[in-house]
Subunit: 235 residues, 2 copies
């Protein structure tokens, strides 16, 4: 089956967590909105007045199913592509971790948009500075410390043991993103999370991930995505 | 099986979405942190250095499983208690809706804490006013309009048809919460979402929900939960 991924064509954003899983799995997929007519198709599906359309991109068309919400897409893909265990208990526990990553990603976004998405960064720069300071001081250590603790307790190199899961791929992306957005702060902070940094290196050299990162399918970080670099926020 | 629910004992918060499902189902559960020694037990479980502890309350102990993240708990409970369909496709679609409610709830929280959770409301009141104005103008119509559209397209009175699901219970709670936090604005806005308001009334009179709401198990809204009423934010 060829999957159809629908996501904004010029950013990594939330879609990147899905792209990484599809790429690592070597799955057959098309990144629809980057092809001809794809944006129009995506908009039509979002605006549908029939049934239950997705609320927002990313969403994945898999046969007749249309699956929205990043963590939900990964929950579906995981056991089908060797990126999640198959038992219900283990699948739910992995999903729980992905939902915590989802919460963290929303907080990352709000560092540059603490007042609202309909306003420009420049119009909320004062609040963004304060929120970023709080985020770096309180939230990054809380979230990343949690995953570091889990990696330390794991009996393998990955969060649930010896096999990489979609959560490991997502944690790779979290480290990538934080390094891009807050290079000064991350440089200092990385010594606190050695196991997460090791995990990042291990994911980066997985053959399919490496090939993906070197390809033009990987969109560069930029000032429209979730992770954005503003010097004023990286104090 | 008797479930053990772990959540803060003095607020509705995120735990309330789980309480509503357990109550509607007539499930056998204990709200642990409201009983003797419960807070200490909750803290111990969160601080565990073994395996994969929950990141935050609420979490549910079901036999040997410990399930964290509100939407994940509901995903588990739903089909076991007649509050979700059983097919994988339908379960994922319902879960997708719950994850969109989860996103909305995080935005509700940030109306009074746009800068950070470690600061008092009073120390971020200016930003809270701006964020709340944006939230009421842009986000509430976007999210609630989405659910209104789905209810209009449904061939029954509930989001997925003729049977109530945990998503319907959660939407009841969203209307309750918004009415408490933003009474002035909601009064005007409710005429835009007649089907959601009908749904709210329909859930409120379900026998188990009605009995729950009338009991002292239902904690009153207050200024520590997700939904908080501050006059300055309800312009």
């Amino acid at each position: 089956m060829r999957y159809e991924l629908y996501y904004w064509p010029t950013i990594q954003g939330r879609g990147e967590f899905v792209r990484l899983a599809l790429e690592d799995a070597g799955a057959d997929y098309r990144d629809m909105a980057r092809g001809k007519g794809g944006m129009a198709a995506m908009t039509r599906m979002l605006d549908s007045k029939k049934g239950i359309p997705p609320f927002a991109p990313p969403f994945l068309k898999a046969g007749t199913m249309v699956i929205g919400q990043t963590a939900n897409i990964l929950f579906y893909l995981g056991p089908r592509h060797g990126l999640a265990p198959k038992s219900e208990a283990a699948r739910l526990q992995l999903h729980e971790l992905q939902l915590t990553i989802t919460d963290f990603v929303a907080e990352v976004h709000d560092t540059h948009h603490p007042i609202g998405v309909s306003l420009y960064y420049e119009d909320q720069k004062g609040a963004a500075k304060k929120r970023s300071a709080e985020f770096l001081k309180e939230r990054v250590p809380k979230y990343l410390g949690y995953f570091e603790r889990i990696l330390k307790a794991s009996d393998g190199a990955y969060v649930t043991g010896r096999k990489a899961t979609y959560v490991d791929l997502s944690l790779f992306q979290i480290v990538e993103g934080l390094r891009y957005a807050f290079p000064k702060r991350m440089k200092k902070f990385e010594r606190e999370i050695p196991d997460l940094i090791d995990l990042h290196e291990r994911v980066a050299v997985r053959p399919n991930i490496k090939a993906y990162l070197d390809s033009d399918r990987r969109i560069a970080f930029n000032k429209d995505g979730i992770f954005r670099h503003y010097k004023a926020l990286d104090k």
